[in-house]
Symmetry: C2
Subunit: 457 residues, 2 copies
């Protein structure tokens, strides 16, 4: 009985009551009751290696393609060439002109807030200026994209995307400054300080904290406007959509981290351009037998999206953040494990999710709307912007993107109602892999019919 | 200062000192310093979703192929057809005859151990019988495979594989019974009981525990031989290579688990057969430009191996274990995360690893060999069996498999010396993805040159 107890306490070792005679004999048993790791009953979750496997497979599958593209096109990001082209003939770069013009809207928002903080503008007049400014940010670039013939769909999409991001940022800027003023008028000074100078874990740098209206008016310095603009432009270039008076900062720029992200950015740019060319040729050929080829296009289309995700949300945003010492690197959460459609939409794009929550969903709740109504309103807003960013650059209004986003609501209900765990996860993956290429195929089909078939018909 | 403390303790909630006036205002900050999940600095490891993604991608990529194969070949595992073919013409099924003949060796081992336990055989004579029995198990099927012309390479490989597994099992059977006898002769009766009736967590069933020589001689029952054979055949069919008098048992057969594993077995059989046909046609065509096509073949070859791994080590072994109520389901550990070659070889095939450790590596250590020498000896043994299982069915001795296994030793040194973490993991994946098809290609090339090129030359 004694030995049995010893075994219980130390199942991994052999009990040796009689060292000289028994040490030579190994334990005659070597099994214990346990589940396989891949069985869901095991509760095992560490698959970091699978991620590395995906990367290795990606590199190997595309090694040849990558080398060919590198040799044919060189390193695509060539800033000198871009600048020289732009300086030679500015009118052939309407998208770039639009991007430069966007500074006007930033400066209008900053000027308005400065006047509001000084009291030169009334709250009501300030709001009107902001609304006009924001409305112009959506309509002006759309009008330019639709009316200027030399605008390409890619250029238009980039310009509209940038304006949309700026729109969300300036909306947040307006909101936060308004909240700070409202708090100071109701004289909760202490709370103001705790709200506008938060994050006690960074308290060693508290002397550098900015309190409202310090972000708009820095008194006693001759370089006042420069510093105020610096605060504004830090926010404009930071990888977030939500304004804050004091962003958490990382202590320094890690050179090796920066270089790795830069390498990834260049590598995935090559890969994306190479793959898009290949996939595009497939789209070109297969217009006649679309539904038949859908499955074949779904996989490369999905891989493109995954690579775009990594390139944009990990490499590029971390690169920018590292450069700006921006501390909050949560640009995505573990959407790959999402077991419901809602979880996916809440976790794959954190900057937009944060903005929606802070400046749209919660304000709606505070105004008395229900949870379901507010959530549907968020999807409606998202559907509008999806449609806006696709329809305007392609110059055709088909509502496929809008419908696709709105279709997420019944899909979310269905998955949440009937599927759980790994099955729910698989359903989310299926909806991503199949849903996207269907929408893309719709637009590509219509675009080709409008732009190319007319001539042959 | 008070609010700052509250924030520290509850960073996720807003402190509300003045409920009526401040509840309407959201926190004006929403960022905190943190790393992205995919950065290795985050320490995040939960990628279960990626595994589901791989499965979904696999199913989608092969959905068409799978359906075609199902329609063309039907469900491949058709036991009635197999049996009827075998009964009609036994000589055209030499592999099946070999499999049936293997029972002789099992019964010889059982008989020898029974005589040894009764004292009818001396230890020395018993050892001689065992050695002859085991040696015949390796040479007899090899001779049959080499000499019978109607033996196909696949049939030969299956027969030799089964004999090799049986060889390892009977070697373990001999060892464990020997250890039990040695322990009882040195009169450590209590230890014997703790060694041959272990696993106190199953103590509620202790009355059913078998103690040596109860596994060989069950006295007082008329069905003695039947029960003894049942113990032996349970071990022969159980998914393990290491004998134990009392295996841990699962409480019951879970029907849904069994059906899911069965479905997986059938599904992967279809997929494997379909893919092998596709890959084989590639191998056929590309003999002229081999090195050029290596990269292209590496990926499907690797996918085949991965599917085989899942089919054999997860679906089939769990199916068998569930059917036999065999409790220990650890057939593999997390080799996908392995950051060194050694870790991979220790974790991808646990039954063989356990056997090598228990019946080869540790006995060598006890005889005074060094760690390095013993480890090299394990790789040498493994290399021998790899070569044996490939060369004999193909009837050509090229030592590629042997060299491939022995090349793991310098590779393990190199990876362990120079690469760490995710880089080590990527290197292990690369060696699996690239190394295997090189060896396969070598054999395929030589096989085609010998069997087909002769005629055309």
């Amino acid at each position: 009985q004694e030995y049995t107890n010893t075994e219980t306490q130390n199942p991994g070792t052999v009990s040796r009551p009689d060292r000289g005679s028994t040490e030579a004999f190994p334990r005659s048993y070597c099994h214990k009751a346990q589940e396989s790791l891949l069985s869901s009953a095991s509760g095992y979750r560490n698959y970091r290696g699978i991620l590395n496997w995906c990367v290795v497979m990606l590199v190997l599958s595309n090694a040849r393609l990558f080398l060919e593209n590198l040799l044919r096109y060189g390193i695509l990001v060539d800033p000198i060439q871009v600048i020289s082209l732009f300086l030679n003939d500015p009118y052939s770069w309407p998208a770039a002109c639009l991007l430069i013009a966007s500074n006007v809207f930033v400066l209008v928002a900053l000027y308005t807030e400065r006047q509001l903080s000084k009291g030169s503008f009334s709250e009501c007049f300030g709001l009107v200026v902001h609304v006009i400014n924001l409305a112009t940010m959506l309509t002006f670039p759309a009008a330019v994209v639709l009316l200027v013939p030399s605008m390409t769909p890619v250029g238009g999409a980039v310009a509209l995307g940038t304006y949309t991001i700026l729109f969300l940022k300036l909306y947040s800027y307006k909101d936060v400054n308004l909240w700070c003023r409202e708090l100071s008028t109701i004289k909760v000074k202490k709370l103001v300080r705790s709200l506008s100078c938060p994050l006690p874990q960074l308290s060693q740098g508290d002397e550098h904290k900015v309190c409202y209206p310090g972000n708009l008016t820095i008194r006693g310095t001759p370089t006042q406007l420069l510093l105020v603009s610096a605060d504004m432009y830090y926010f404009v270039s930071a990888p977030t959509l939500c304004y804050e008076l004091n962003f958490p900062r990382s202590p320094s720029v890690r050179m090796s981290f920066l270089l790795r992200r830069l390498f990834e950015m260049l590598f995935f740019t090559q890969l994306l351009v190479g793959l898009i060319q290949q996939v595009r040729s497939h789209y070109d050929m297969d217009l006649s037998r679309m539904t038949e080829r859908l499955l074949r296009l779904a996989v490369p289309n999905h891989l493109l999206w995954l690579m775009f995700f990594y390139w944009f949300f990990h490499s590029s945003m971390n690169f920018t953040a590292e450069l700006l010492c921006f501390g909050d690197r949560q640009f995505y959460r573990d959407w790959w494990n999402s077991e419901s459609v809602t979880y996916f939409w809440q976790n794959w794009n954190i900057p937009v999710h944060k903005w929606c929550l802070r400046h749209f969903y919660k304000p709606l709740l505070r105004r008395g709307f229900g949870k379901m109504a507010s959530q549907s309103a968020v999807f409606l807003l998202s559907a509008f912007f999806h449609e806006y960013l696709v329809s305007v650059p392609l110059r055709m209004f088909r509502l496929w993107a809008f419908t696709g986003m709105m279709a997420q609501l019944p899909l979310a209900w269905f998955v949440g109602r009937f599927l759980r765990g790994n099955y729910g996860n698989a359903a989310v993956w299926m909806s991503i892999i199949i849903g996207q290429p269907v929408a893309v195929l719709m637009y590509v089909h219509d675009y080709y019919v409008i732009n190319y078939r007319q001539e042959t018909d």
